[in-house]
Every structure is written in C-alpha cells, then in structure tokens.
C-alpha cells in the first residue's frame, strides 16, 4: 500500500541496463544465487506432490485396505522442508552479499562522480537533489536488484511449474486455471501501471503539505509579526483537504481494482472443484490429486501480490536509475591532462582572449579577456556584481573551461596539465569558508593530509589562528563544522588562511574572502590575507577597494570585458569606472556605512 515515491518519466531500459552492468561484475555469485533460487522453487513445488500423494494413498488404504504408513510421507515432507530451509538459508546470504557488494560499487561510483562533477553541473543542481539521488534513489535500485534476482525469477518459475503440474494432473483443470491466471496477471500489471501515477500524485501532495509546514515554521517570526496565523491555518487546511481527498480517491480506485484481480484468480478454486470434482466422481482422478491442485493454487495465490510489487519496483527503478546514471555519466566532466608543473615559486598566469559562457546559459559572461600575471604579482579584480569577477578566477583551477581562448600557466595550456596537480597548486579562500565535520587539525590539513602536527601549528600561527584554537577546550582536536563547534566568520577565515599557508600553493585566489566579515574583523584579518599572498601569484576579488591598494595590477571588469587595467594609483586618477567606484566608496565612508 505504500506510495511509490519518485516521479516516473518514460520507462527507459538503457539506464536499468547500466545498473545491471554493476551486478554483472559478480557473474559467479549471480549464477550461484539463481541456481539456489531455482532449487528452492523446485523443492517448494514438490511439497504439494507429497501431500497429494499422501492423501491419495490414504484413500486407497481406506477403500482398498492397501498398506499405508502415514509417517513415511511425513518424514519425506520434513526432509524436503529441511532441505528447503537449508537452501533458503544459504540463498539469503549469497543474495544479500551480492546485492550489498553491487550497491557498494554503485555508491562508491556515485560518491566519486559527485565529487568530480564539474562546477557547471553543481551550479544547476541543488544539494538536496544530489543527496536524495545518492540515498533514496540508490535504495530503490536495491529493491530493483532484489526484484531482478528474486521476484521476477520466482514469479516466472512458480507460475510455469505450477501450471505444468496442474495440467499434468488434469489438463481440463489446467486449462481452467490458466484461463483465470492469464487475465489476473495481465490486470495486476495493468492496474499497477495505472495506479502508479496516482500514488505519485499522493506523494507529491504530501510533499507540498510538508513544504507548507516547513515554511511556516521557518518563517514563524514573519507569520507572527503580520498576525497571519489564521490565514496560515486556512492555507494548510486547503493543502490538507486536497491531500486527503486525493489520497482517499486513490485508495478508492485501488480498492476498485486490486481486490478484483484477487477475485478473478480465486475463481480457479471453484472451477477446480467443479471440473476436478467431475473427474473424481468419474473415477478419472483420485481425490488427493484434487487436493494437490488446491495446494498448488494456494501457493500461487500468495505470489499474485508480488506481481504488482514487481511492476512498481521496475517503474521506480527506471526513474531512479535515470537519475543516478545521469550523474555517473556527467557530460560536463572536465578531462585531465598529463603534463606536470614545477612546484616552486609564483606561477605566470596568462589569459589569452578568454571567452566564457555557462553551459546552457547562452550569454557570454567573459568576452576576450586577456591579461598576464607575472610570477609573484597580486592582481586585484574589481567590478560590479555580475561583471564576471568570480567566473574569471574560477577558470584558473579549471572549475570551468573557457569556451574560446586559452589560459596558460607557466606557458602551458591549463587543459594539458594534470588536473589534480593543477588544483593543488592553486589555493582558494572563498567568501564563506566550508569547514568539514572533523578536527581543527584535519580541517587545516585538508589540502595536505600528510602534514605533520608541527606544520599545522606553524600554519595556524602564521594565520593568527593559533591563539583562538588553543583557547578552545580541546584545542586542535576540537571538532568543527556542521556537527561540531561553530566558529565566527573571522575565525573561519583565519582557518582558511592557515589552510593556504600549509598548502603553500603557487597561485592563490581570494574570492571575496573578507566581504562577509564585519568591519572590525575585516580590518584585523586584512594584514594576514596580504601576507599569505607573498611570494605567490595572487588574484584578489574585493568589494572594498581600499583593501587592494597594494596590488601590482588592478583589472576592472564590466559586463565580462576588461574596461580598465593598471596600477591602483593610475586608475584612481584616471577618471574612468574605477575612479567612479572609488569616489562612490569614499563618499559612502563620509556617509558612514558600517
């Protein structure tokens, strides 16, 4: 009765095959599991034979006074049941190991793919979506793998063997049973497909209702401030009513369909009584065989529900596999080159007529940008929001590749360089520093996991972070990040600086690194930011122009083009856009913006 949880686009076999390819890495286990399953079904299918034979023999004993030892049959029955349990015990373990091993491969592949996905991909996909693909969707693939390895084979073989057995016993009853079974299976599959989108709708409505709750609670201050509680309740009630109405309508159509299939299938029993009864009375079939047919039908009836389940699993898996495979086969992937860079000193970074447009975005964000940063220079990049500053610096570590032109580092096209090497020689400090749920030491050493504790402490000292770190109760072992101690903006940026000191990159990018700090903290940290740039080629994006006065070159961007370029002093006198921005900020200072 559970609602299938995912949106289901058209059924696509290609993606499911991609999932099965993971399973096929374990051919041996797959074969073993299937063989064990077949043995298991075979054993199960002999049980009604034994019961039927026992009843037949018993009847013979009663009517013809033939010799009969009932316990013999009981012993055979128990022996078969024990064998079946033993096979089942092994089968369960084999199958589970197999599925878990496959899932482990899929999860690892997914995790790795997500980590390596291009920024272009991450830009268009939100975090929650990627997490849910890695959790809920992969869980659905687990069901799919179980279904392929078990449900499908089990249903097919059980149906075929049962029908054969019944037909062998009495072909007329066999025909009657098939006449009820065929429409039942057809209807179950048909109804399952029909109901699927309805359950999905129920699920979606549930999601919408949850969103109302979440928003209401997240925005509780606004709700209260505007005295909107009553309206919020009315809104919630509307969503709830639609949800309940749709759910009940869906339940109702479920009730109109699914029990009907059960009914059709169950018709096989009175038919068996009628047709089989006639044969028994005519003396053409012993009564135990009739009982045997009833036992077989009972076993099959228990499986009918699984057909609907199988159809749902396939539909779910189709959608889920598409979402997972899409990540694994990301077309926007950045390929790595093989050339290695030298590891010492600032690098020469050249932009040669670089143009860039975001994939699918259309408009060019950068247009024929050319610049040369000499080894050890600091380049300030300024301009209004949306001028292309961040995009420009993100091209250096190849978060994106230019759509035209080239970036050369020490004379080599960045695309020829080993990607990991390149990125390790570029350090970045972002506006918001991401700390991982790990110790301070691990966070500082994030880019250089092999660093010694002494090196970590030295870096922390250089970044003026040592003091506040040692003031914390557990010092360098303090767990920070989302699941640990939360640090202030300034403290986080100091850890970022420490990271950069330790990483010792040849190129350093400060992407708006101080703009989220308050004025006082920004002033305190400015000096450290400047020091970490020494001896490296640095690109600094800043809103507040006074913070980049020391830069050797200032580049002013406007709508993706370099409109001015020169030293700070030159530009400040020049009367151009930079001068205008600078004046504006000075005026602000008079006006007093804190």
């Amino acid at each position: 009765m559970n609602a299938p949880a995912s949106p289901a686009p058209a059924f696509r076999a290609r993606n499911l095959l991609g999932v099965l390819a993971f399973l096929m890495r374990y051919r041996g286990s797959v074969a073993l599991a299937i063989v064990l399953l077949l043995v298991n079904i075979g054993l199960e299918m002999t049980l009604p034979q034994v019961s039927g034979a026992a009843i037949n023999n018993l009847q013979k004993a009663l009517t013809h006074q033939a010799a009969f030892t009932p316990w013999q049959f009981a012993e055979v029955f128990i022996a078969l049941a024990v064998a079946r349990a033993a096979v089942g015990l092994v089968l369960g373990r084999v199958r589970n190991r197999l599925v878990q091993a496959t899932l482990k491969d899929i999860r690892a592949a997914y995790f790795d793919a997500v980590q390596r996905l291009s920024f272009a991909y991450h830009d268009k996909t939100n975090t929650g979506e990627l997490i849910s693909r890695g959790t809920a969707d992969i869980s659905r693939l687990q069901e799919f793998l179980f279904a392929c390895l078990f449900l499908g084979i089990d249903i097919t073989f059980a149906v075929v063997i049962t029908m054969v057995m019944i037909t062998i016993t009495n072909w007329k009853v066999g025909v009657a049973a098939m006449l009820t079974l065929a429409p039942t299976m057809g209807l179950i599959a048909f109804f399952a497909r029909q109901l699927y989108p309805r359950w999905r709708k129920v699920h979606d409505l549930h999601g919408e209702m949850t969103t109302v709750i979440q928003e209401n609670i997240a925005g509780v201050r606004v709700v209260k401030a505007f005295a909107r509680e009553g309206d919020e309740i009315a809104k919630f009630r509307r969503h709830r009513d639609v949800f309940v109405r749709t759910t009940l309508a869906t339940v109702s159509s479920w009730a109109n369909r699914v029990p009907f299939t059960q009914f059709i299938f169950n018709l096989s029993t009175p038919l068996t009584l009628w047709i089989g009864g006639r044969a028994v009375i005519a003396g053409a079939m012993p009564v135990g065989s009739l009982a045997k047919i009833v036992f077989y039908l009972l076993g099959l009836g228990n499986r009918m529900g699984a057909i609907g389940q199988f159809v749902n699993v396939l539909q779910n898996a189709s959608a889920s596999s598409e979402r997972v495979m899409e990540v694994l086969e990301d077309p926007l992937k950045i390929p790595s080159g093989s050339r290695r860079l030298s590891t010492v000193g600032g690098a020469v970074v050249v932009f040669d007529k670089v143009s860039f447009a975001y994939p699918g975005g259309g408009r060019e964000v950068l247009h024929e940008v050319s610049l040369e940063a000499k080894a050890g220079q600091t380049i300030a990049v300024v301009g209004a929001t949306g001028a292309g500053k961040s995009t420009l610096v993100h091209l250096i570590p190849r978060f994106y590749d230019p759509t035209a032109g080239a970036i050369r580092i020490d004379g080599f096209d960045a695309r020829e360089l080993d990607l990991v090497e390149l990125r390790r020689s570029v350090g970045m400090i972002f506006q918001e520093t991401v700390l991982f749920s790990a110790s301070v030491t691990e966070n500082i050493a994030y880019g250089r996991p092999d660093a010694t504790p002494a090196q970590v402490i030295a870096a922390a000292r250089a970044a003026h972070a040592h003091e506040f770190i040692t003031e914390m109760e557990r010092g360098y072992d303090t767990v920070v990040g989302e699941r640990g101690v939360s640090l202030s903006g300034g403290q986080k940026q100091r850890l970022a600086i420490a990271r950069a000191f330790l990483l010792d990159p040849r190129i350093l990018i400060l992407d708006d690194a101080t703009s989220s700090l308050d004025a006082k903290t920004e002033r305190l940290i400015q000096e450290d930011m400047r020091r970490v740039c020494l001896g490296r080629t640095a690109f600094v994006i800043a809103h507040r122009l006074t913070t980049v006065q020391h830069a050797e070159q200032v580049i002013v961007l406007k709508e993706g083009r370099i409109v001015e370029q020169g030293t700070f002093a030159e530009l400040a006198r020049g009367g151009g856009l930079f001068c205008e921005l600078f004046r504006e900020q000075l005026a602000d200072r008079e006006g007093g913006r804190a």
């Binding site: 009981a74 128990i78 015990l89 369960g92 589970n96 919630f236 009730a255 009564v287 009972l298």
Partner: protein, 604 residues
C-alpha cells in the same frame, strides 16, 4: 548532514509501547467516525468468516461428495452446489474486501489528518519561546513524520491486528471442532512460531537501528562533500575522500549483512516450522484417518487441516511487522500529545480588548526580562525605561547580546516581560489582543524571509485584503515597482523556497515593500549587514527613508546614516540603557556611543 538531520534520524528510531493513556487519547480521535469504525469492525468480522469458509467448503465437498461416492449424479449435483457456494462466497469476499479497505483507510487517513491540522493549529498558537528552544526540524516532524508513522498503524494496522487475532482464534476453533487430537498435536508449532517471530523481530529491529545509524552517517558524509564540493575540488581531495567514504561504507555494509543474516535465518525457519506443521497433519492425521470411529478423521478434514495450518503463518508474520510499527507509532503519539499539551505562553487575557487604531506612541515602563533559557540570576533587559513619541525614529545601538533584539521582541509581544509594562498610545499591550497589535505592526528583519508563491502574494502577506493597485502603489512609493516589473513574470514571478531565486538585496527590497503594503503604525527594523552591491544599497536606503516617514520606528542600526537621522538613540550595554540622546548630543558627550561611532567611521 547537519546535527539536525542526525538527531531526526535518531528520533525516528525511538520506540515505545502504546500504553493505556495513549490508547485512550487516540480513541478519542475516532469521535465523528464511530459509525465508520463500527462498520469496519463488522465488515472485517464478516470478511474473516468468508475467508475461513473456503477450506470448510472444500472439506465438505471431499467428505460428502468426493469420497465414498454412492450415486455419481447426486455427488455431481452436490459438487456443483458447493462450487456455486464457493463462487458466491468469493463474490461476498470481494465486496467485503473493498468495503474493508475503504473504511479502514478512510478512518485512518481522516483521523490522522484531523490530528495533523490540530497540530498545525497548535503550532500557530505557540509562542516564540517554544521555537527558540525547540529545533525546527523537530517541530516539523510532529506534523509530518510522526503523523505519518501513526497514519500507517492506525489506517491499516489496527484493522490488521483485529484480523490477525480473529484469524488465529478462528482457525484454532475450527481445527478443534474437526479433531481435537490432531488440533492439539498440530498446535505444537504455534509456540515456537510466535516466540520465534517476536525473538527475531527484536533482533531485526535492533539490527535495523544499527543499519540506519550507519546509513545516516553515510548520508552526512555525502551531504558534506556535496555542499563543500568546491573546496574538495579546489584542494584535489577526491581520492582521499573516496577512501574515507568507502571505509565508512564498509561498516555500513557489515551492519546491513548482520540485519540481513537475521532476516534470512528467520524466513527459512518460518518455512521449516510450517513444513513441520503440515508433516504432522500428514503423519498423525494420516494415522488418525486409519483409526476406528471416535478418533477417526475424514479425508476432507485432513485436507482442510493442511489448508488451515498454513493460515497460521501469514498472520503471525504480519504481527511481527506490525509490532514494530506499533512501537514507533507509540513514540510518535506521545511526542504529538506532548506538543498539543504545551501551553502557549503569550495568550490573550480573558478580558483582552482589541487596540483601537493607534498613533504610535510607545512607552517602556521599568521593563525587566529574561528568556526561559537565561540563568535565573541574570536579566536580559534590566529596568529598561523610555518613551517614544508617535512618528519618532528610535535607534537601538549596542554590541551583540546587549538586548536590542529583546526590546523589539517584547514590543511585538513575542514574549512578555517579567516586570514592568509596555504601553502603546497609553494601552498596556499585555491587556490587548495579540492580533490587534500585530495588525498595526510592521517588521523587517535581517532574515528577509519570503514564502513560496508569487511576488504579489508575498507583498500582500501583511494585508491580504490589499488590492493589486494598493500593492503596486506601495512598490512605486518605495521604488521597487521597476525592479519587480523587470522580473520574468513581473508581479506574478514565482518565489522559490525562502526566496532562493532572488539576490539578498532584492529579497530585502521585497520585504521593505511588504512592510509598506501592510501600512503599519509602528515599524520595527533590523538593518541587514549582508553585502549587497552599491546600486541595491542606494535603492534600499531610499526605500527605507520612505517606509520610515511618519511612522514610529524602532531600528537596530547598522548604518551610520540611520543613526544620525534618528530622533532618539538608545545605547544598550548588558541589557541596560547606558546612554540616550541624539547623535549630536551623544557624540559631544564622549561616552560609549562616541566610541562606537568612532569605530564605525574609521572604516569604509
């Protein structure tokens, strides 16, 4: 993910047996559905009767017409009659199933969604202090996951529980009536079946708890890597992280194996016990069939026994599953009732009256206040006493934690002071209805929270009855009309969750417009510090000037220009007003404010 997500998962693992108190409160929810409940119970009983009738008909056919046949014609008529009865019984069963499913689910879903609404309504009534000390995710869970957990049990589970117990008793009684000897012998499988099921259930439950715990760690790691992916890539950490993930995943897989091992032992064991049951029927029943009269058992009885014995297993298995669900529903029910029993702190007094239309004069008289979480020996606001004339702008200045936010929270009556009074136009707000106060109050906070819906819906949030024209007029007045018209669909542009599709500057401008649409008499403004580009900054500045004009405004100031223009500045330190006056008088005095101002001004 975050701590939040982590403990939410932990919470989902909580289990608690239903006790009498919970059951009584749950039963109270059936009020309004009692007739349906009665119909459902009646229908279920009939359905079970119909199900138990099947093997009985087969038995009768075998006993009366298919063995010891004397007249084939009569036997054939008998068999045809039985087949006809069986068919009729199937029809009846079908109809009853449809009715049972419908009534059971209708009751469950309706009842739980009544409760969901009740929870939501209660949440609206709760005071902010509750939201301060309770994690958002937890509150959301009450109306969401907890209700869902109960929905499952109450819609389907209650019905199943009834069906299972009756089936077990029914089957036992029928078997007893056929042959008490065979029945007692066959029943030896029952105790190991039931005990085994509950034993395995406990093991599986614990194993799954472990699996989920590991799974939540995996999810957290995945989430962290996705949100920090730019850093991961920038530092070239992909391989190390994959290694760590696989290590963690290894532990997860071990736990998953453990759980599966238990399950894959349980299922074959169940099959084995069932096999033993049938074997006993064949062996002992077969022997009985050969015995003389009193002990003798007919062939049809034997067949029916085999069918009935197998009817034991399905229900016992379901009972195991159900048992788990009932335990988690118990924990959910308790949490929900706990929430419903939480009394809101700020409620209208019995004799509360609506505030008339106010001019906006505000007076704090010796107000002392502490939050519930504040230590008893400390005040967050200590003897705060001031008056603001209608139309004045009051700037609140001080360091973080000095009590600025608390003052505006008290004015909005999100909390009530422990001592002192707050008067608006001479009316004590504690004696007024909360609604009449909030209707005349506008708040613009740093959060700049927007709701999903259209821009227009959001702007109208504070005054739903405002016409499109009113909204546009307000937007023109604060200068955001152009900005909104430039959006994709103008005023009909969709707002993503929390306004995620707009920049911080745009969000703030929309919130300012929203406040103006509400035409508040008193305005509370918490100036944002987030970085916005200079164009938006200028627009925000002028929009605020328009919004503030002619209204009593309390502003937590971050802009020097705002402070300079204020009619009155209150300088707060540790919950006390340490200085008050205008910008000029305070700068001249050379006290705390002068220091703060110097700090402001030094920086661009």
């Amino acid at each position: 993910m975050s701590t939040g997500e982590d403990f939410l998962l932990e919470e989902a693992l909580d289990q608690k047996p239903m006790n009498f108190y919970l059951l009584r409160r749950l039963f109270a929810l059936t009020r309004g559905y009692r007739l349906l409940v009665a119909a459902n119970v009646g229908g279920t009983l009939l359905l079970l009767g119909s199900q138990l009738l099947g093997p009985y008909l087969i038995r009768t056919a075998i006993n009366s017409y298919l063995t010891n046949i004397s007249s084939p014609a009569a036997a054939m008529r008998g068999v045809e009659w039985i087949a006809g009865c069986y068919f009729a019984n199937l029809l009846l069963g079908w109809a009853l199933t449809v009715a049972q499913v419908r009534t059971a689910l209708t009751i469950g879903w309706r009842m739980m969604n009544d409760l969901r609404l009740q929870v939501f309504e209660h949440i609206q009534a709760l005071s902010l202090s509750y939201f301060d000390k309770t994690h958002q995710g937890r509150i959301i869970n009450r109306a969401d996951a907890d209700i869902d957990a109960m929905e499952q049990v109450l819609s389907w589970g209650a019905n199943q529980l009834l069906a299972i117990s009756i089936t077990l008793v029914g089957v036992f009684c029928i078997m007893l009536s056929y042959s008490w000897r065979l029945c007692l012998v066959v029943s030896v499988v029952l105790p190991p079946l039931i005990v085994g099921t509950f034993f395995f259930q406990r093991l599986i439950m614990e194993a799954h708890r472990q699996v989920r715990r590991q799974s939540s760690r995996l999810t957290a790691t995945l989430a962290e890597n996705i949100s920090g992916v730019r850093v991961v890539q920038a530092m070239g950490r992909e391989s190390e992280n994959l290694g760590k993930f696989q290590e963690l995943h290894g532990v997860y897989v071990e736990r998953a194996y453990d759980a599966a091992r238990i399950f894959h032992t349980y299922m074959p064991t169940l099959g084995l016990i069932s096999g033993i049951g049938v074997a006993l029927v064949l062996g002992y029943g077969g022997s009985l069939a050969l015995q003389p009269a009193p002990q003798r058992i007919a062939l049809g009885d034997l067949t029916a026994f085999i069918l009935y014995v197998q009817m034991f297993f399905g229900p016992v298995q379901t009972m195991g599953d159900l048992y788990n669900n009932i335990l988690s529903a118990g924990a959910s029910a308790e949490r929900i009732f706990q929430l419903l029993d939480t009394k809101p702190q700020v409620i209208d007094r019995v004799q509360a009256t609506a505030l008339p239309v106010i001019a906006g004069e505000v007076r704090f008289e010796h107000v002392c206040f502490r939050y519930e979480t504040t230590p008893e020996d400390r005040w967050v606001l200590d003897d705060v006493d001031f008056a603001a004339e209608a139309g004045q702008t009051v700037a609140l200045v001080g360091h973080t934690g000095s009590g600025k936010t608390s003052i505006i929270s008290l004015l909005a009556r999100f909390y009530e002071p422990q001592r002192g009074r707050i008067l608006v136009d001479g009316h004590d707000i504690a004696q007024a209805t909360v609604e009449s106060l909030h209707r005349q109050l506008g708040i613009v906070t740093q959060e700049n929270f927007l709701f999903t819906g259209t821009v227009l819906d959001n702007l109208r949030f504070g005054r739903p009855e405002a016409t499109d024209e009113d909204v546009q007029e307000a937007a023109r007045a604060v200068g955001t009309d152009e900005l909104i018209r430039q959006m994709k669909d103008g005023y009909a542009t969709k707002v993503a969750e929390r306004g995620g599709n707009f920049s911080a500057g745009t969000r703030q401008l929309l919130c300012i417009t929203r406040a103006l649409v509400a035409r508040p008499r008193i305005l509370i403004l918490d100036e944002a510090t987030s970085a916005v580009d200079s164009k938006s900054e200028a627009l925000i500045q002028s929009a605020l000037d328009i919004l503030l004009a002619g209204r009593t405004t309390f502003v937590i100031a971050h802009r020097l220009s705002t402070v300079r223009k204020a009619s009155q500045i209150l300088v707060l330190q540790h919950g006390r007003i340490v200085e008050r006056g205008t910008h000029e008088s305070l700068t001249a005095a050379g006290g705390v404010y002068a220091g703060l101002h110097a700090e402001f001004a030094r920086h661009v």
